[in-house]
Amino acid sequence: MKQQITKTTYQLPIGPIHPALKEPVMFEFEIEGERIIDVNVALGHVHRGIEWAGMQRNPIQILYLAERICGICSYCHPMSFALAVERAAGIEVPERAQYLRVIQGELERICSHMLWAGVAAHEIGFDSVLFLTWQMREKGLDLTEYLTGNRVTKGITMIGGVRRDITNDMHPKIKEALQYFKDNFEKLRHIFLDDKTFKMRSQNCGVLTKEDALKLCAVGPTTRASGVKKDVRLDQGYFAYGDLDFDYVTPDVLTGEVHGDVYDRIIVRLLEVKQSIDLIEQCLNLMPSGEIISEPKIPKLLAILKKLNGEGIGRMEAPRGEVIHYVKFTGQDSPYSWKVRAPTYSNVLPWIPMLKGGQIADIPIVAASTDPCMSCTNRVAVVHNDKRYELDKEELHRMSIEKTRRLMT
């Protein structure tokens, strides 16, 4: 490739459709040589108007619509909506259902973090690790299917509880899957945290300082990797998290230091996988017997909700961070207002300090390091592009792999 030496900066759009990004988002980079001077993020390419669509449906229908906001957080969204409705309506959830909700939430976290680990490995050209992590994730999906009947859109959420119980005869199969995760965890930890290539590509790369994380309202592993102790499960609690024994995961738990780089974000997610396994085990041991739903008759529940006047918020710690749903009822069939705030919505702005001063070849791994989910963030859509020079998608991935190779030699 011919290289032209120029002193002026040039603009480099990446996206909206790009393999390094996995989902549509548009970056407009200001580049000087290989270095990123400035970056602007444009959203909205997969905005599907889901909130508006929800305002034309009844709360039970919204559960299934919310499930389709995101393919990975297909449990967190309907569940946060259910939490918001339960708070607006004053519905008490049975204790057993609260434990079942934790199990489903943590299983989703394991699957999501495993998926992310594979994507991160792929972005730096380490595809054998992609296959290893996704093989492990497959076990998580098998377990999800066993517990909910589905792999992706789980259909487990109901306002006032959950739709399926976990009986004692199901415990051996769950324990077997958890044992599998534990057996393979060390291998995964060794690859991600001890491997020289991984360290070279992820340490001091995409740094987000604690001040920036707080200022820009970052959430989830992105903010915890910068040393901010923020986790809705612990801060405020919901479901049965208040009964369980666990603590904030920040990178200093393992290394004694916080850098806020990509490496730290890997540490946080890996430790959270371990934490999730432990939380599921605690739930299986502590789960009280009893009902799994407060009102099993859906028409009766709907009749109550149709008369409802009030508002509520549902907050949950999704795999990517805090998800918050706001809902307002005015005694009609459908809610008067519904607002969905997915974690990526808050983690878009922190990309800017992370990417500034970095190299083009680091864009894929830094962008992936917040585990972005654009479908969650955008909910109405149109693609807008301008006449600018575009770097070929294959080219960018190739540059990233080249950088890894360069560092290895």
Binding site: R87, L234, Q236, G237, Y238, R315, E322, K339, R341, H384
Partner: protein, 180 residues
């Protein structure tokens, strides 16, 4: 995270009442429990006058230097446009976090509200979204562009409005068209 004394939800409400008197109305403290241990958590709701909104946000940020802004919701309430700002304070200490929600009514004839991006720079996407979805004007917003809807979308149409500026004209009910 902070070593300063955490105020209880009642104390928070009181400090707002003392500071803003009649400009704070409809105060509601939602107290719920979770799990077998019945751990408590709180959501505070209050209606804040637009004239003291910015000061109220500043006051909240003073209570906890690590106050977190989650998002703002909003809806068309007929004569007004109501925005609901969702904050949380005291994160970092187990079970101490309290959600604080401010509702602000803006008259439809002049729906202007101050930006909070000087206090919470992370609020910009949320403010941009309210501008394009509800047609409110955020005074002092650092970046006055659209974020989710495209530039070729009609300028005087706001998807979350329920009046004539709403998206009704754009909706095509395919099942009805098939019947005709």
């Amino acid at each position: 995270m902070t070593t300063e004394k955490h105020l209880s939800s009642e104390e928070i409400v009181k400090s707002f009442e003392n500071e803003f008197k009649n400009n704070i109305t409809d105060i509601r403290v939602e107290k719920r429990t979770q799990g077998v241990k019945k751990t408590e958590f709180m959501h505070i709701w209050m209606r804040v006058g637009n004239n003291v909104f910015k000061e109220a946000v500043r006051h909240l940020a003073k209570l906890d230097p690590y106050t977190h802004f989650a998002v703002s919701s909003g809806y068309d309430a007929g004569n007004t446009i109501d925005l609901v700002y969702h904050f949380s304070i005291y994160h970092g200490t187990r079970h101490k976090e309290i959600s604080v929600n401010f509702t602000v009514s803006l008259p439809k004839s002049n729906p202007i509200i101050e930006t909070i991006t000087d206090i919470f720079p992370g609020a910009i996407i949320s403010e941009q979204e309210k501008q394009e979805m509800l047609g409110v004007k955020i005074r002092g917003i650092p970046k006055d562009t659209r974020v989710f809807i495209s530039d070729d979308f009609p300028k005087d149409m706001y998807p979350w409005r329920r009046d004539e500026t709403g998206p009704q004209k754009m909706i095509r009910n395919l099942h009805k068209e098939a019947e005709q």
